[in-house]
Amino acid sequence: MSSVVIETHKLNGFYGDAKVLFDIDFRLNEGEVVGVLGANGAGKSSFLKAISGLMKVEPGMITLRGEAIGGSEPGEIVRKGIAMVPEGRRLFPSMTVEENLKMGAFAGRKGRWDINSVYAQFPILKEKRNVPSTSLSGGQQQMVAIGRALMSNPDVLMCDEISLGLAPVVIKDIYDSLPNIVSEGMSVVIIEQDVMVAQRCSQRLYCLQEGRVSLEGASEALTRDQISQAYFGI
């Protein structure tokens, strides 16, 4: 069995006074692609925020290779090797494509990914390297957001709703690039609303419902009915 990269232990999270995450136990193994499914407001994005340091939680609730990292500063967590592709892409609007990508390298981790390998992965970005990021199409912006996260050479890549607002053909292109990205042992967490996409791309799935894990299992083994019950609660 491969080694565990990220684990959460009874993860509880709050937005101000409102509790949004309840006792979540989650595991991500090395080289694995794990999907996290759930409806709007099920707590998917809160879950990623807790891991990436944007939501403050108890240290022991999240471990990275056994080390407690819960509640660390976001910058600290990137330097430890967890990078995020945020929901809605959130590129820096005042910057060009290349400047956005360079921002990803701020954490200073060395490895396979640099500006050239990102361009090799997404050739269209090289063409548009000096274009303001705001003038790109949605799919191209998503490539920049993924490329920016890769620039920090993470061990774990977390993608928050990368298919949101994109055309199906574009979604397919982006997900088709995943195998090449993860080929060297990188682990990936994919947050999705789209059940089909998540099931096809991942090895294991977690379903969240009202801030709790309602289902987990190997993606291939889960049936439609199981997922829709865990997803909608019906």
Partner: protein, 286 residues
């Protein structure tokens, strides 16, 4: 008339240095430093104090002040301003406004209300004769050249360096910038450190060019602010142009009637705010 306009342009150079400090902090962290004018004045008094005790060359004083200004700006941001930053503008405005009043009264207590100036070693009386009785002072020319250098330097810093990228990143989206491994607090502190360097330069020049007194700060803040708004926020060359326009307007006003010079500058600011709320040279969005 040409002489008046030239004077105005040169005066605008000084206003530009005032304005860059304000614009830099606002641009990076949306913080309005109401104590800017008073910080310029206190820098002038510090320079006067050093000069009277150590009898140093004016250039050496300037060079000694810059690192001190950077460090004090950095620490001031970390210790005082960072905790006030939030969606709510009240805390940072009250703190900088309170600081403005404290600085004015501390200076008043230490130096009394009498105006003083920094001995520039004769620089302020030297001038270049351009022929036909057209004379330009050496000091205003140096100030103007410094203003161009500062504007150019800031522009380059922002567009070409990784420090500049980090400024833009936290200004664009603080949360994502932190996800990239930046510490917004440190980036803010760096920006304020640089802004304090500009403030120190401004204080040095202001106290050499004319006399300064403890209550002068607020009017300098207003000139800096007017230059920023006239030029249009978000572009340093716009601020430079705004400062020149303000300088020229005030000089023309002074020419007609000394009592109305400043008023005339304010009026032009108000007209421009009314007809072009985004300034004359707004930054065009990508």
């Amino acid at each position: 008339m040409i002489e008046t306009i030239t004077q105005g342009i040169l005066l605008g150079g000084l206003y530009c240095i005032f304005a860059l400090g304000l614009s830099l902090m606002f641009g990076v962290m949306r913080l309005t430093n109401i104590a800017l004018g008073d910080q310029i004045i206190i820098s002038g008094f510090i320079a006067i104090g050093i000069a009277s005790v150590l009898q140093l060359n004016i250039v050496l004083i300037g060079l000694a002040l810059l690192p001190c200004a950077y460090v004090s700006g950095y620490l001031f941001q970390r210790a005082v301003l960072n905790p006030t930053l939030s969606r709510d503008p009240v805390p940072s405005l009250v703190v900088t406004f309170g600081l403005s009043i404290v600085i004015q009264n501390v200076l008043q207590e230490l130096f009394s209300a009498n105006p003083r100036s920094l001995d520039s070693g004769g620089l302020n009386t030297q001038s270049i004769d351009l022929g036909g009785g057209f004379v330009i002072g050496v000091l205003p020319l140096i100030i103007f050249a410094t203003a161009i250098a500062c504007t150019f330097g800031l522009q380059m810093l922002f567009s070409k360096t990784s420090t500049g990228r980090s400024f833009r990143a936290v200004s664009d989206d603080r949360e994502i910038a932190e996800l990239m491994g930046l510490s917004a607090k440190k980036v803010y502190a760096t920006a304020t450190g640089i802004a304090f360097c500009l403030i120190a330069i401004a204080g040095l020049f202001q106290s050499m060019r004319t006399t300064i007194s403890p209550a002068d700060g607020p009017s300098l803040l207003l000139f800096a602010f007017e230059a920023v708004i006239i030029g249009g926020m978000g572009s340093f060359w716009g601020t430079f142009a705004g400062a020149l326009i303000l300088g020229i307007t005030q000089q023309i006003g002074f020419m007609f009637d000394p009592a109305w010079g400043i008023w005339f500058g304010h009026l032009v600011f108000i007209i421009i705010l009314f007809i072009k709320p985004n300034g004359l040279f707004p930054k065009t969005k990508g």
